[in-house]
Amino acid sequence: MIVHLAGYFISLIAAAMLVAVAQSMIPSEKIRKISALTGGALLLLCVLTPLLSLDEVRLNIDFSDFLADSSGSIAQMQAESDAKLDALIKQKTAEYISDKASELGAQVSTEVKTARAEEGYFYPCGVTVTGVLSASQENELSAYLADVLSIPKERQVFHTR
């Protein structure tokens, strides 16, 4: 439609210039008045004819040419941001667990699993602890995980060496 619009204005201006040039070249005043009337009628035809022959195809503007696929892009950005946040939560939770294990005198490596709450935030829901732990250390750590980090015992996995 935009290209048709430009063409419409160009044809209108061209017609106006032809009429004006024709009027200027006529020496006789009387004939100039007649030519002014004729030129005006011709110009009116130039203005109205394209408008009367408008159809849906010409009026249609294809907005997809101007729009980015923003919803898809934003969803992808949100997914990337969520992935970063999830990784940070896992890292911080693992640090908490490692610090507690160090307090108990054990050295462990931790793998944290997260889940997404209904409200949209991530929370730790499971853990795999690998290291050298005595039975009492394991029980104390397990109690800490259940009470402080709300990770139920059935979701705690200990691999002791």
């Binding site: 430009a6 201006i13 004006a20 923003s70 934003i74 949209g120 929370y123």
Partner: protein
Amino acid sequence: MLIPRMMIRAANDDFSVGLEELFNAAIAENRSTVRSAAALAAGLVAVVLLCRMVAGHEKSLPLRATSLVGSVGITAACAVSLRAMIGLGTETISKITDCSLLMLPALASAEVSSGAPGTAGALYSGTVFFSNLLLVLISKVLVPLVYLFIGLATANAALANRLLEAMRDFLSWLITGCLKTVLYVYIGYLTISGVISGSADAASVKATKAALSNTVPVVGSVISDASESVVAGAAMLKSSLGVSGMLAVLGICAAPFLKIAIHYLILKVTKAVCGTVGEDNHVQLIGDLSSAMGFLLGMTGTCALIALLSTVCFMKAVGA
């Protein structure tokens, strides 16, 4: 195009420092433009004076030779400058749009990480839409209309026809009206979408915070610390990206804008000078040619303003 090392350095230092260095460089780049524009002005004054001298000896005819020759001579003298400025203007507009479209995904990504996906989506899609629409409108409609305006102004000066004068005024109104409409609609979109999406994002953040407060303290602390780290990082990224982006847009358009503005002002001054000695139609023609330069300034300014406004909106939008 002004994106030299000093601009990158300036973006790291201070926005105001970067701005100052940009404009100093733009002024330095345009010293020869003043000389060439002054030479053009001298040529136009010479044509007007010559026509005035000859007009006194010419019989009164329906189509006066001095009007015709003078009008064509004035437009011919300006033709090279006009063509160069129109080319410069369209090239600058294209570069501003490309720069803006390159920056937007990074700004939108930082905005999403700040906890405002609704605002990011609305700003991103809106800015892309209006930037592309303006680019197509300018390249396919407004630039051809500027050429038509110049032709009409020349013909009107030569023939002194009321129809041509009316068409010229209509074109002038159409070009400025299109630019103003696009800008006003974009600002309206930013305002309305900012209110709606900002409220939705704020409500979502509030709901999440309320839910977090019900979790055990340590878990709540872990989650909120992690969220704050992501948001703080995104805020820093937005800030540095935004400043760099604004400096990039200003760097692209500073020198060309100044070049076109110099021609615009010189033609205005020439019109004022010729007004004392020249024929009315020739003086009016010089005024119309300066208006054509004004249209180019308007087009370039509108594109730059859309890019800058969107960057500022991304920077100002507050997340979690």
